[in-house]
Every structure is written in C-alpha cells, then in structure tokens.
Amino acid sequence: MKEFKRQAYQKLVEQSGGVSVESLFVLLGRVQDTFGCVPREVVRDLAARTGFSEALIYGALTCYKDFDVRPER
C-alpha cells in the first residue's frame, strides 16, 4: 500500500472507532468504498488485529461481488 493510502486507511479505522471483530464487515465495506478494492496489506493488518486468519477474511471477501480482491497468482 502506498503511504498516502495507509494514512487514508488509518483514518477509516479511526472513523470506525478502531478495529473490532464486531465492526470488521462494516470497516472493510468502507475500505472497499474508499479504495475501490481491498488491498492485501489491509487484510493482513486486520487479521493480526482481530485474531481472524487472513485466509478466512480473504475467502469471505471473494464471496461478495462488491468486494474486489485479487489473488496473487
């Protein structure tokens, strides 16, 4: 993620009152709406902060047509 994006992301996190399991879906919705995609760095960060696995979040995101995530291969 480019630096300016990281800042934008941090701002979204603040707006959402921090990262919590209970608001993860809402927060990722905002990330998608703001960036037009969900970058891997965001998934990694949120996984670390919520205790969810990256696989679980990635798998979930790919299930919704309005989330944009791209596999790395």
Partner: protein, 903 residues
C-alpha cells in the same frame, strides 16, 4: 449420560443422547451414504446424501445433523431417497472430472463407491468441462496436490484445518463455478500458516487432494497397509504405512479417526517424514574402520571383532570401563535386551540414553514427589481439564497432536489456558494468561503461585492433610516468594502471577503440562518438584483430568526408561543398589550383577576424558549433535579406544566409530513402544529391511553370545514375556493383550485393564511429598561479553538431529535450514536484519547461522533450534549439570551475537 432408544431400518439402537442418526446407524452397521461427515469436525451438511426418512416427520432429515431421539423410527433408504441420492451424485459428477483410470484415489474413493452403488450416470447432466489448468495454491507444494476438477467442494478440508488444526490456512474462495479451496490470496501453501499435517488430504472424500509424492506410485489395490506407531515423538500416534510390495517403498502414511491416541490426526513428521525409511543412504552392511576408512565387512567379522575388543577391554580395565548408550528410538524389547547385555554380559551399570538430556529431572523429581516419574494422566483427558497450565512446553511444535487437545479444551470446552513461556508460542493465541518469565526463573514463579494459593486460602486442605507430607517446611520457604518480589526475579507482573494462581487453584480440574523448558536446567529437578507442590497444594493430582504431565520427547523414551536403560535402575525402576532387586535379577539372568549405580550419558563422556571409559557401545544415538558442548563431546568420541555404533545411517556419531552395525528402522520391526501416556503399543513390520541389516535386539544377542553370555529369542513377543516376568509395572503385558488400543502401565497382571491415570487414592510412594525449594540462578548468566541468554529447543518440522526428517522433500521445502531468533529491538540495535548471516558465540564455541527477527521473543534473548548440523546450537550450550538428575542446562547459557561481515 442418558441414552435414547430408536429404531433404524427395523434395528433397535441404543445410543447416548446427542448422537446423530448417522452415527447411531453406523454403530449398528447401517451405512448411510455420506461425503462430508467426519467425526472430528462439526457437521458440514454439504453433500446432502445422508438424507433419511423419520417416521411421522414431514420431508427428509439430514442424518448427520439430526440427533437421534427417543422412539424415533428411521428409514435410511427407500425408492424416493435412492432416487434423490442418485440425482445428487449425478449432479456432482456433472462437475467432476471423472478420471478413475489414472486417479490415485481409485479404490479408496467414496464418490466412486457411491456412484457405483447407485449406478449414477456420469454424463447424465452433461460432461464436466475441464477448467483451465491455472496454477493454484498447492501447485508448487512438494507435499500436497489440489485438483479443482475433482473437488466436490464438500468443505471438509477447510473445516478440518480451521476447527481441528486451527491452522486456518485454507478457505473457500470465489463463488459457484469459480469456487475453490485456496489459501489467503492464493499464496503458496508452504508460505501460508499451514503446518503440513496432511489432515486436509485425509478428510478429502474424492481424489481432489492427494500427497504429491504418492502420485502414480500405487492405488489402493496395489498397496499393503500396515498399522504401526510413529517413530518420532512421544505422543505415539498410530498410523498406517502403505507399502508397494513390488518396490518395497512406503508410498504414503495415513491414520484413521478411531486410532488411539491421535484420532487420525498426524503432524508433518508422521505424515511426510517417512522418506528416510527406504532412503538410499541407509546402511546396508557392517562397516569396520581400517586406517581411518570404513570398509564393508561380514556380520561374522564385525561381531567377532566387537566381542573380542569388548572382552579384552573388560578383562584389562574392569567392567566399568565399558559404557553403553541405549536408544529411545528403539523398541522396548531392544532396550530391555541392551541393558540386560550391558549388565549381564558387560557386568556394568554404565547404561543410559538420551532421556538424560530431556527428562531425567522429571523422572528424578516426580519419583521424589509422587513415587513414579511419568505423565499422571492420559492424553485424551487433557481436553476435559477445566484449566491447563502449560509451562516450558512449546506443545504445538514439539508435541503437535497433544496441542490439538489443548486447543480443543479451550475452544470447544471452555478451559482456561495459562501459558508460561518467554516466547510467543502458538498456544499463546489461545491462552487467557501469558506469563513471560525470564528463562531459568521457573522455581521463583511457581513458588509465587504457591504463595498466592496459600495466602488466599485456595488450598485443598483435606488433600494436603490426608495425602501429603512436608507442608510446613514447604510453606515456610514459599512464604518468602511474594508475587511482588518474584515479579522482579521473573519479570512477570505480580498481578498476572496472582491471576494465574487463582485460575489454576479455583478450577475443578487443573492439568499441568510441561516439557524441556522445565527440565533442561541445572535446577531441572527443582522445577519439577515445584510443579508437584503446586498440584498437591490444590489436590490436582490423582484424579481424572487433573495432574502433572511431562510430555516425553522421543517416541520410546518412556519405554527406554521403563525398561531400565538407566544407570541406577533395572526394568520397572527397581534400584540396582537394593540387594533384593539385585538378587532377583541375578537369578533371572543367571549372572552376578553390579550393585553400583553406573554413569550417565554426560558423565560417560567426561569419564572418557579421564581415561576411565575405554569402550562405548551406541545403539542409535547421536551425541555428536545432540549433546551440549559439542566440541568436548566430539573430542571424547575421538579419544575413546573402541566405539561401536549400531545405526541406520552413518550419523555424525557413527563417523567416529570403529565398527558400525546396520540395523532395522521402526518400519521394519515388530515390537512395542511406550508413549508419553504410558501406553504400550504394538509396532508392526511393514516392509523388508534393506541389505543385510538386522533387528537391533538380534544384533545385541549375537554380540552377547559371542562374548560368552548367550542370549537367544524366537521373536520380540518372547522378549516381552520375559519383560513381564521381571517388571511388575509391565506384569500383565503380552502381545495378545495389547491389541490395537494398547495398554497403559501400571498393569501388574494378566487381568489388569491398565491404568488411565496415576496415584488415585494413594501415591506410588505412599504419601506425596511437598518439597521446600529455593530459587537458584542458572549456572551461566549474561554479562558484558555475552549479553544474551541463549535457549535451544525444537521446531515442528525437524526432529532431534534431523537424521530422519531431512530426508523429506516436503519438510525441506518449509524448513530448509537452521536459524537464530532474536527480538526486533535487539536486531535493530545490532544492525541485523531478517535473513542476515550471523555468528552466535558462547564460551564454548561459535556458530554461523541465519537471523530470524521476530517480535515474538523477549529482548535480550536468543533462541536456536538444535536440530541442524550446519550451525549446530550445541556447540554453544553449557554442559553444567543438574546435581540430582545430571541433566545439562540446554535452556540457558550466555551468548553474544554479531552480524557476519563477509570479505
């Protein structure tokens, strides 16, 4: 638990409440088709094949998720149901690339079986289009292959990985036609959180997930399965070796959900670490060193030479100039024969094995506190404990399958987990409390917990009064260890210590689990005694689900100890110094025996330096890599007059030998192993041994006979009968009784069912003894020159000295080489980045390895796995010994680190 009665296809069935219809049916042999059921995970309910009709209920019921209820009448198949099953199968086949002709699952595929049973037409709904063969997350994995075209998306693999392993490497990705199993972002499996347990392969009902190495190497009908016990760690997982009899090669390793104690779960070593068995580097003939070079020899030559030299040395320098290292890798029968050989033919008690290096302090400590030194509970009990206190055990890496039970206890049964470990080990993720104690400060920590328990009156007074002695003295010492004072010693906050003490003491059943982090200290015995104190204070021993549970390292280290491969005891922990025992064995073995306790492993090495030991006989040990202060050990091996190595590979140690005798490995043997929960289990010969190799006990018998003490046995079963006759705790053991579930000692007679947990009602030594233990600092503390504390330990993928694990490609891919872990802060201070080459230096040596920078380790602390021959951690470790157990302090030494500057 109450039971319900129901009727399934007219058969009366009685099952415990909560059983599903599917399980109830299978308990009476009614086989309801299913492609997505596995007893270890919650029902998936995806295949929908398991539908049944329940009388007077509308519609059909999903039998895998419907509980059997009183009075239910179930029909598992009728015309309607059969038609639906057929349609469902045909739908699956419309998406499944049917390729039974070249599929490895052929003959062991449920989909194939049901398609046949219902005569499903594979092209009824059109022929499955081949997807484009885009690479997937497993394409570059050496271990696993995933074929989306054969995947029926049942979800079992994902669920297993998430629910049982809790590795959470896998997920479904995409939707509908695009839906597939994947890792996060499709990254390579070996870069994900996968721990290579192979469980996903095991649960897959189709040919979608298979072992890469097994492809094209044989189908069900080409392979012969032999059930045996894993040769790696002390958990003692039962598994099946599938061997192609034409090539005499192990094609794959599997296990089943009803196998004890692992329930079909395996770790990477059992699953993917068996390549060593048929490896081309195996020794095949005896070797004799002539002029510094090994030359092939015949068995007669080799045995004659060994017998002559040993006899000569014995005559010239006395029996105690000979020493023997027995082996925790070998069977109970091998160990029994080895120690009998050393004692009866050799006339010395100089016999020991690597338990010295891992759990000697456990054996010494628990014998003093309780009267016997083994895990008090069974593995299966762990998952029902209400509180689990893990200290000095990185269970997920060293005993992975036991870690599954700990996680199950926490996640599914709500147990409270306390982890005391300086590192952020995997279990910390599941723990309520993490105490990051300074390495070597365990006694202080445990004393402080006892202090809190006494002060807050959380004691089990009745238990202390009726079943223990020594409370007053112990309480007197513990009183000094207030949480506040100990917070300073251990750097664990006082409040955390108090909470841990309360969690532990207030839980109805609390189980302590420990391993080498407790034992490998100069205060190892003290550490163990303190833990025993903690358990006795709260009455948490001698009952189901609660106890003191050392996890043993090697597959048969428990058995090697049980059968007297120790310098102070005969089989069954009968003291060599006790005249009555001596007489008994003299009678049984027909020889005069020494009543003098022999030397331990490290003492024998030191005795070589002093010229007291002239000959060493090693059965499958590798001290040239596993022992502390390697430079010193290697010099001793160089020095000893005569060294025999009985081995499967030309190991680091075997290189020093004068004679090398090639032996069978576990897969080629019949015999028994005793796992960490005292369970004696059968191992079975699965394939032909290479070249001229021989069974270990057979070789020893031949040498012994040549030395003038004849030993002869028909087979391993006969040896076990002799063991039973002289070893009270094994008194009721015989091959016909062990069966497929094994027997747990003590098992004194033929009618005894074995013992699930120890010390019920009475301790082995009568009353349990509380010990007053004072905290002492480790032998070597950091200073200016060596500012770090270095600890060594194990890592999931490798075992011991890697002699075995490194032969596996799957393992090499994830764990190619050694490393040293250091904290991010420290790395910054020393200008070291992740992956840099570094030198780690101690007073005893210098080692070059790679840096692994991690936030998961405390400042000022270094951690190195000890497995690797390049950068061997034991060049650095301290061989200072625990005064009682003589175990070396592998866990703490002072060290320095610096970046390697090339050129």
């Amino acid at each position: 638990m109450s039971e319900v009665y129901l009727e399934i296809d007219g058969k009366k069935v009685r099952v415990p409440e909560g059983t599903t219809i599917l399980e109830a049916a299978s308990s009476v042999g009614v086989d309801i088709p299913q492609l997505c059921y596995d007893p270890r995970v919650r029902p998936m309910g995806s295949c929908r094949l398991c539908v049944v009709q329940v009388e007077s209920q509308a519609g059909l019921a999903i039998s895998c998720n419907t509980e059997a209820a009183e009075g239910m009448k179930v029909t598992t198949e009728n015309e309607e149901i059969a038609a639906i099953r057929k349609t469902i199968l045909e739908l699956i086949l419309s998406e499944h690339r049917v390729a039974c002709t070249s599929c490895d699952k052929d003959g062991a595929c449920k989909l194939q079986d049901y398609a046949y049973r219902y005569q499903a037409d594979e092209e009824r709904f059109g022929r499955a289009a081949r997807r484009d063969a885009r690479p997937n997350y497993a394409s570059d994995s050496e271990a696993i292959v995933y074929d989306r075209d054969k995947c029926i998306l049942c979800g079992l693999c994902v669920q297993y990985c998430e629910e049982v392993l809790m590795a959470e490497a896998l997920t479904f990705a995409g939707r509908l036609g695009d839906m597939q199993v994947s890792t996060a972002f499709g990254i390579d499996l070996f870069k994900s959180s996968c721990v290579l347990c192979g469980g996903c392969i095991a649960v897959c009902p189709s040919g979608a997930m298979v072992e890469r190495a097994a492809i094209g190497k044989g189908r069900e009908k080409d392979l012969i399965k032999t059930r045996t016990v894993c040769a790696y760690c002390g958990v003692g997982c039962q598994l099946d070796l599938s061997v192609d009899s034409k090539t005499n090669k192990i094609v794959k390793v599997t296990s089943e959900p009803d196998y004890i104690p692992n329930k079909g779960n395996l770790c990477v070593k059992g699953k993917f670490g068996m390549d060593f068995v048929g490896h081309e580097d195996r020794l095949t003939t005896p070797l004799i060193k002539r002029n510094g070079n090994f030359e092939q020899a015949t068995w007669e030559e080799a045995i004659k030479l060994v017998a002559e030299r040993l006899n000569n040395i014995k005559t010239e320098f006395g029996p105690d100039s000979i020493g023997g290292f027995s082996s925790a890798k070998c069977t109970n029968e091998d160990n029994y024969i080895f120690q009998k050989f050393m004692r009866a033919a050799g006339g010395t008690n100089n016999v020991d094995h690597c338990a010295r290096l891992c759990h000697a302090s456990t054996v010494a400590g628990l014998a003093r506190a309780f009267g016997s030194g083994a895990m008090t509970n069974s593995i299966d009990e762990i998952k029902h404990a209400k509180c689990i206190f893990v200290i000095g055990s990185n269970t997920s890496e060293a005993h992975p399958v036991i870690a599954l039970y700990i996680k199950e206890a926490v996640v599914r049964n709500g147990a409270k987990l306390i982890v005391a470990d300086p590192r952020d080990i995997e279990l910390v993720r599941f723990a309520r409390l993490h105490l990051r104690q300074r390495p070597g400060s365990d006694v202080a920590l445990i004393n402080a917990m006892c202090n809190v328990i006494i002060n807050e009156n959380l004691l089990d007074k009745d238990f202390i009064e009726q079943r223990t002695e020594g409370f007053e003295q112990m309480a007197g010492v513990v009183a000094e260890y207030t949480p506040e004072k100990v917070a300073e010693i251990t750097s664990v906050p006082a409040e955390l210590i108090c909470e841990a003490a309360r969690d532990y003491a207030k839980s109805e059943t609390a189980s302590i689990i420990f391993s080498m982090g407790i034992t490998q200290h100069t205060t190892g015995t003290d550490n163990v005694l303190s833990l025993a104190n903690l358990a006795m204070l709260t009455g948490n021993v001698g009952k189901e689900f609660a106890g003191v549970n050392p996890l043993r390292g090697q597959n048969n280290v428990q058995g090697a100890c049980d059968l007297g491969a120790l310098p102070n005891v005969y089989p069954g922990y009968q003291s060599v110094e006790e005249p009555a025992k001596g007489e008994k064995f003299e009678k049984a073995w027909g020889r005069k025996l020494s009543a003098k306790t022999g030397l331990t492993v490290i003492e024998m090495i030191h005795a070589i330096e002093e010229g007291k030991i002239k000959a060493l006989y090693m059965m499958g040990e590798n001290p040239a890599l596993s022992d502390p202060n390697l430079n010193r050990t290697r010099a001793a091996l160089e020095k000893v007059d005569f060294l025999v190595s009985q081995e499967i590979f030309l190991s680091e140690t075997a290189q020093f030998a004068d004679v090398v005798l090639p032996s069978f490995c576990f897969a080629e043997k019949d015999g028994t192993f005793t796992n960490t929960e005292r369970r004696i289990q059968r191992i079975h010969k699965a394939l032909k041994a290479p070249g001229e190799t021989r069974d270990d006990w057979q070789i020893i018998c031949d040498v012994s006979t040549a030395m003038g003490y004849p030993m002869q046995y028909e087979d391993a079963a006969e040896i076990m009968d002799e063991i039973a006759s002289v070893t009270p705790i094994y008194g009721g053991i015989s091959y016909d009784r062990i069966g497929s579930v094994g027997l747990q000692w003590p098992c004194p007679d033929k009618n005894h069912p074995g013992t699930k947990y120890l010390h019920k009602g009475r301790f082995t030594r009568g009353k349990g003894k509380l010990h007053a233990i004072k905290f002492q600092e480790p032998a070597e503390l950091p200073d200016k020159e060596f500012p770090f504390v270095l600890s060594t330990g194990r890592q999931l993928y490798q075992f011991h000295t890697c002699t075995l694990t490194r032969k596996s490609k799957s393992i090499q891919q994830v764990s190619p080489t050694g490393y040293v872990e250091l904290a991010t802060d420290d790395a910054e201070r020393y200008g070291i980045s992740d992956g840099d080459s570094v030198q780690v230096i101690s007073r005893r040596g210098t080692v070059t390895t790679l840096a692994r920078v991690t936030p998961g380790i405390g400042r000022g602390w270094l951690f190195m796995p000890f497995h690797f021959a390049e950068g061997p951690a034991n060049m650095l470790t301290n061989d200072a010994l625990d005064p009682i157990a003589k175990i070396p302090e592998f866990k703490v030494c002072a060290a320095a680190i610096k970046k390697l500057v090339i050129g």
